[in-house]
Point group: C2
């Protein structure tokens, strides 16, 4: 057994630079307490189904669903050169997938859902982590915690990324704004960036509120 | 597929009062960044193996390993009358299992590990949550977040429980202390209790620092 021969397990472990994406539905926990439990699970499974399809299309690894939260890895187990860029494109596609999700919410007569996404790039330890009976590909490191903190700054519909992700993501990233924040556990302030879109091969842009303004007809003379 | 027929999934969902236990290794994330990655995974797997055996012995459901963190449910999927009491007994046994874990750390020439545990009892939504390809028994609700907050107040070796858990846990719970805290997301302050042991059928007690004092020999006259 494991306890008799822990060294026999040999599940490895590797330090690797990866891009981490976390998302959650802002305010969903509170909403979940007002809805019948069957509705809560129905909404979650509908939403997570859309997100899983999107993440898979962008070659992200879903490490974890935690309630309405998702932890996604780009660069583990498989490293690809464009991991940070693909993570940003994936995040925009996830936000765009909220449109059909919310069409269904409306059809069901339920409140609309709003998702926040945080992305960060840095070194973590990856490996098969767990007990003898229950192992999974997992990650450990302060960069994981930092990603959750960055996500915690989002409002619904927003994608916030760290400077390390932005710098590694290549050209034609549209930024709506930036701010300096001091997340818990980080020694000095960091700058995070509010992503508006990505050009080039992806050409994906978030709808801005401006675009939703209706053009007023010319006033009658 | 799920997207075409989400209602066809029928994975249910239920609101239920359960006892939630979360644990993590205090300071392990920082330690993990100083150690070789193989050592990090070796330590985690050795530690999680011991904890999984202990949790299983107390009929807890391991919902999740997240790095060095563990999320355990008592009362889901199977409800038992003594869930809160068993959760407390399990937590003490987990802390006691740190003794053999740390004997191994010493043997390996590694720093000793310290675990904190939070326990809380309350209503959550439980169900099979996820996408079509990836579903797990999961939980949603503010009581889950609160458990993590309570765990966040621990120092190494400590077990902190909410008042709801303590009141539901029955007789002969030894309390070392209590304090009022105002966790994020909770409207008014709550009292949390520092568990020292459990009598009755379990008879498990944490070693206190006092017990570690050596009795001095009588001074020579």
């Amino acid at each position: 057994t494991l306890l008799e021969n822990p060294e026999g397990l040999k599940m490895g472990g590797e330090r690797r630079k990866i891009t981490i994406l976390t998302s959650d539905l802002r305010g969903f926990t509170a909403l979940s307490e007002r809805l019948p439990p069957e509705e809560v699970v129905k909404i979650l499974n509908f939403y997570l189904g859309y997100m899983a399809d999107t993440i898979t299309a962008y070659q992200g690894t879903i490490d974890e669903f935690m309630g309405d939260g998702i932890l996604v890895l780009f660069g583990a187990p498989t490293v690809r050169e464009d991991d940070p860029r693909r993570a940003i494109a994936c995040a925009i596609a996830m936000q765009q997938a909220m449109t059909p999700v919310n069409e269904k919410m409306e059809e069901w007569g339920l409140p609309l859902l709003e998702m926040g996404i945080g992305i960060n790039t840095g070194e973590v330890v990856v490996g098969n982590i767990g007990s003898e009976k229950r192992t999974k590909y997992g990650i450990v490191g302060s960069q994981v915690n930092l990603t959750y903190r960055i996500e915690g700054y989002t409002i619904g519909g927003q994608i916030l990324v760290s400077e390390t992700t932005l710098q590694a993501a290549g050209d034609e990233i549209k930024i709506n704004g930036q701010k300096e924040v001091s997340p818990k556990g980080v020694k000095k302030p960091i700058t995070i960036y509010d992503i508006g879109g990505i050009g080039g091969e992806y050409n994906l842009f978030l709808e801005t509120n401006e675009e939703e303004f209706v053009v007023l007809p010319e006033p009658l003379p």
